[in-house]
């Protein structure tokens, strides 16, 4: 029970930490205009983990500016974190050094598309496909862009190319059918869709598309059946179908953002598949990794939760070590848990949640005094942030195992007053005054109670 409460508490705080603004980190670097290393401008706040990633890629580049792979790596880091303008510059430099590098050209295309430079993006994508004509996903992406631009005939040609290269991809089948529908070829589109509808259970978005064809063709009965199988509208936000996931790492940042958003809003169970996808596509995103591990842990999949943490890429952060500690507690390995929570506190001594976890571990190791110290420290940090309920909870745990210090009692009384837990506040204040009749904090709180 206690473990569940602790995990719950940890979850709450993990959620609270994931979306906070980072400090302003990376700034424009100083190089010549020919191959200036692009970075977010100085007035843009960069998330600290992202800034560290940029520091790495910039550092590598500064050592070897003629290496196109390093430009590609730096561009990818920028792109993955939604700095598309800067990413485009880096990819451009990579391709300038090595024009035969399809990955750079492909990513340049996607960055330009993100910047709504449609003509250039499409041209770059075509160029990359000239280098890797067998890349079916590239043709599919081209088909999607052409459809969005209303280039109906070209879209169908590109979609057919993708489909011929790999007819097994259901998403490509979807795009081909859509391109045919845009050309008012509903019968043909239906043939493409029914090939999967008739042999197995297709994804519901295939039925949604098929319903459009049935409607146009006046096939009412099939329309109703397709509508029933397509289910309710896709309401997930912003892009439930992740149509753009195939764009290699395009949209990485959005997917991570969405997965964490879902984790916050809808809970880990619903978020789990999205966190898993985000982790695959964005393995260096430590918060995604920690959240995924926690989601797996909550499902009882402790081994997988551990594996996710072990596969860390990049620098661990406080959330990572807190999750490792929480997982170790769940695995009844308190020594490891202690080691990990110490690392978390070393990274951020102001993290109240880490103090809570440390207290829990200490308590279960029989270190009562240490547990009380951590819980009181957690409460102090909560009080600073005016998180009264959390402060009261931490001190309640502490008082269960031993006597609070006068400071701890004062913090508890303050939290109780703020939470309007009047009876409990009176008892706590009495206790303080019985030990130290002139305690100014207690007197002030007592006076406040009387006024209220």
């Amino acid at each position: 029970m206690r473990i569940k409460i602790l995990i719950l508490l940890f979850c709450i705080f993990f959620v609270g930490c994931t979306g906070e603004k980072g400090e302003s980190a990376a700034t424009k670097s100083e190089t010549s205009s020919a191959n200036t290393i692009p970075l977010p401008s100085g007035n843009t706040a960069v998330e600290p983990n992202v800034a560290k990633l940029f520091q790495k890629t910039v550092s590598s580049l500064q050592a070897d500016k003629e290496n196109p792979k390093l430009w590609l790596a730096h561009g990818s880091a920028l792109f993955a974190n939604a700095y598309y303008n800067e990413a485009a510059v880096a990819f451009t430099q990579a391709v300038a050094i090595n024009p035969e590098m399809p990955q750079s050209m492909y990513l340049l295309a996607t960055a330009l598309w993100k910047l709504n430079k449609q003509e250039e993006a499409t041209q770059a994508l075509r160029t990359s496909l000239g280098l890797i004509p067998e890349y079916d996903m590239g043709w599919r992406l081209l088909a999607e862009w052409q459809m969005e631009r209303g280039e109906i005939e070209q879209a169908e040609i590109s979609a057919r190319m993708a489909f011929e290269l790999n007819p097994g991809r259901i998403g490509t089948r979807y795009v081909l059918a859509q391109s045919l529908m845009d050309g008012l070829k509903y019968e043909e589109a239906l043939l493409v869709l029914e090939e999967v509808i008739l042999v197995n259970e297709a994804p519901r978005w295939i039925y949604a598309l098929a319903s459009q064809c049935y409607r146009q063709l006046g096939k009412t009965e099939q329309l109703e059946q397709a509508l029933a199988k397509s289910g309710p509208p896709f309401v997930d936000w912003p892009d439930p179908m992740y149509k753009h996931m195939p764009n290699l790492i395009a949209g990485k940042a959005e997917i991570a953002l969405y997965a964490l958003h879902l984790n916050r809003v809808s809970g880990s169970e619903k978020a789990l598949p999205f966190l898993a996808k985000a982790n695959i596509i964005n393995p260096e995103h430590v918060d995604v990794r920690a959240a995924l591990s926690m989601a797996l842990q909550k499902k009882g999949r402790l081994g997988q939760a551990q594996k996710v943490l072990e596969e860390l890429q990049g620098e661990a952060n406080v959330n990572y070590w807190k999750q490792y500690a929480g997982l170790s507690i769940a695995q009844n390995n308190l020594d490891n848990a202690k080691e990990y929570v110490v690392k978390a506190i070393e990274l951020d001594s102001e993290d109240a949640n880490a103090q809570d976890i440390a207290a829990f571990i200490a308590k279960n190791q029989g270190e009562t005094a240490e547990a009380i110290t951590h819980w009181q420290e957690a409460a102090r940090l909560y009080v600073e942030k005016e998180l009264w309920a959390e402060a009261e909870l931490s001190l309640a745990y502490a008082s269960e195992v031993g006597e609070l210090s006068q400071e701890g009692l004062c913090a508890l009384a303050l939290a109780q007053v703020e939470l309007e837990h009047i009876v409990q506040a009176r008892i706590t204040i009495q206790k303080i005054l019985s030990i130290e009749p002139s305690n100014s904090t207690a007197i002030a709180l007592q006076s406040r109670l009387l006024q209220e």
Partner: protein, 545 residues
């Protein structure tokens, strides 16, 4: 230097600036379509959304104008809702082409946190009244004539307190007076202090669905005695909740009964089909207008009925958030078909967050063009303003003969880009020169009056259709037959797009063509035919039994 290097240098140059702009499908024009004449015409107005960095969602919903003839002198006057502060809404009288501020003492300067406005003569006295949607209590402002308005909200029973967004008047129960639909965005009691962040970890506005604060919209039937009755439940509208923003009333099903369409933010849009007995059935899924053709419920903002393909029935156009294209639903009779990609409007629109919509033939070539207001709720990939990260340029599209729309450059059709967070826009021929002008309301930036200065415009003809009470006959239809046998259709409407009230007169661009016949059909079924009407004129058509 090889081919790649040359080509890449071009990219390098193009990508080096902070501001990136699309250049695809751009229609290069030698001259602008509009110029901002707000200050020249005497209007100095800024919508204050009250933003102080806390990202309250109301800040990205409000600010809208109404173009209407409040003094019945034949020209368009202007009303603008205000957001934060005590100044209240503003009323401007059009006096010989100059707008004169008549707010003070007019009774029209409601001081609520204004979101939008709709117009209609609810009491059938021949004067156009105003309904203002607020964050709080809404306001029904009865036009008493003589430049005076009286707030009759409480007496009329249309307070509808909460977070209202848009409203529209229309005779939904076919009893000869105007009823009222009001969209409700969110339950204010459930809007929490949640913080949301964009891709770059910057705090921004939250997706409304995370509050789980959806509401039913409100339908009022006019009792004919100056009061209204809330019939939301009896009419069937309480069966679903939503995040209602844009709304319009129009016959979308071809049964000569006005229906209600509501754009919901991040939820399926709704089509309430009028059953003719005071009730409505929500039929958006079966009519294929709730979601786009990928099955995605978009974040609907504005919505308008418009016969884009000029085939005599009303199509529907919906604006959506950044990342999602607009939705052009073509009316196919029993259902709608998503035509957005085929019309060339998909790729260009998804790069902005669009709100207000005006379909008008700005260049009078017989083809409807499209103007859209834009303003972000989350920052996009492109930053247009260092002062306002949510500011974007408005968009202007010119329709071509093949039915495709081409983006006009400079964006928005002005010589100098107007970059702002904009929601409401109203249209009408303010200066009576036969060309449709615009009023654009920006958040925390001066309002723009965009005078149409399109060169080489074609001919035109305009109709003001009156009902039996001498007011604009909302819902009437105008069919203009040109001498080549082609037809142009329009519906008399005021509230559409986003939160704004447009001049309800029907304006038609004619190119070089002449008009052979005009057929006017009033909502009650009365038909009147005009032969060879004079061109370059506004015809006032009175109702005759």
């Amino acid at each position: 230097m090889n081919y790649y290097s040359t080509w890449l240098l071009l990219f390098l140059t193009a990508c080096s600036g902070n501001e990136q702009q699309s250049d695809s499908k751009v229609q290069n024009t030698p001259s602008p379509w509009f110029e901002d004449v707000a200050s020249d015409w005497g209007v100095d107005f800024t919508y204050d959304n009250g933003a102080e960095g806390e990202f309250h969602i109301r800040e990205v919903t409000g600010g809208a104008p109404a173009l209407f003839d409040y003094d019945n002198d034949g020209d368009l006057d202007l009303y603008v809702v205000q957001g934060n502060g005590a100044l209240g809404n503003a009323l401007f009288e059009n006096v010989d082409g100059m707008f004169v501020d008549r707010s003070e003492g007019s009774g029209a300067n409601d001081t609520g946190y204004g979101i939008g406005v709709s117009t209609g003569d609810y009491d059938n006295d021949g004067d156009t009244d105003l309904y203002v949607t607020n964050l709080g209590v809404n306001a029904l402002l009865r036009n008493e004539g003589g430049g005076k308005f009286t707030n009759v909200t409480q007496v009329a029973g249309v307070e509808d307190e909460g977070f209202s967004a848009c409203s529209a008047f229309g005779d939904l129960d076919n009893d000869g007076d105007l009823d009222l639909i009001v969209t409700k965005y969110l339950d204010v009691e459930l809007i929490s202090d949640r913080e949301c962040f964009d891709n770059l970890s910057r705090q921004t506005y939250c997706n409304p669905t995370i509050y789980e604060a959806e509401l039913q919209d409100t339908l009022f039937f006019n009792n004919g005695d100056g009061t209204f009755t809330d019939v939301t439940t009896e009419a069937g509208l309480s069966s679903v909740k939503g995040t209602g923003l844009g709304v319009f009333i129009s016959d979308l099903t071809g049964d000569e009964l006005p229906d209600i369409f509501i754009a919901n933010d991040a939820m399926p849009d709704r089509l309430w089909v009028n059953q003719g007995d005071g009730t409505f059935i929500e039929d958006s899924i079966h009519r294929n207008i709730a979601i786009d053709d990928s099955g995605i419920a978009k974040a609907g903002m504005g919505a308008t009925p418009v016969d884009i393909d000029q085939d005599g029935d009303m199509d529907v156009y919906v604006t959506n958030i950044f990342g999602e294209s607009d939705s052009f639903y073509r009316n196919e009779g029993d259902f709608f078909q998503d035509m957005t990609r085929r019309s060339g409007l998909y790729a260009e629109t998804r790069a902005y967050t669009r709100w207000g919509i005006v379909f008008a033939d700005f260049d009078n070539d017989t083809l409807l063009d499209l103007y859209e207001t834009t303003g972000g709720v989350v920052s996009g990939a492109i930053s247009y303003s260092s002062e306002d990260p949510l500011a974007e340029p408005n968009l202007l599209f010119q329709q071509k003969e093949n039915g495709r729309f081409n983006l006009i450059d400079p964006k928005g059709g002005t010589a100098e880009l107007l970059i702002a967070s904009t929601h409401g826009v109203a249209s009408g021929d303010i200066d009576g020169d036969g060309a449709v002008d615009l009023v654009v309301v920006n958040s925390n930036a001066p309002l723009n009056i965009l005078k149409n200065i399109t060169k080489n415009r074609g001919g035109w003809i305009t109709f003001q259709i009156l009902n039996a009470y001498g007011s604009n006959a909302l819902g009437a239809q105008v069919d203009v037959e040109l001498q080549d046998g082609s037809h142009l259709f329009a519906e008399i409407k005021s509230a559409c797009g986003y939160a704004s009230a447009h001049d309800p007169r029907a304006h038609f661009g004619l190119g070089g063509k002449r008009v052979s016949q005009v057929t006017i059909t009033w909502p009650v079924g009365t038909i009147r035919i005009l032969k060879n009407p004079e061109l370059h004129t506004t015809h006032v058509i009175e109702y005759v039994e």
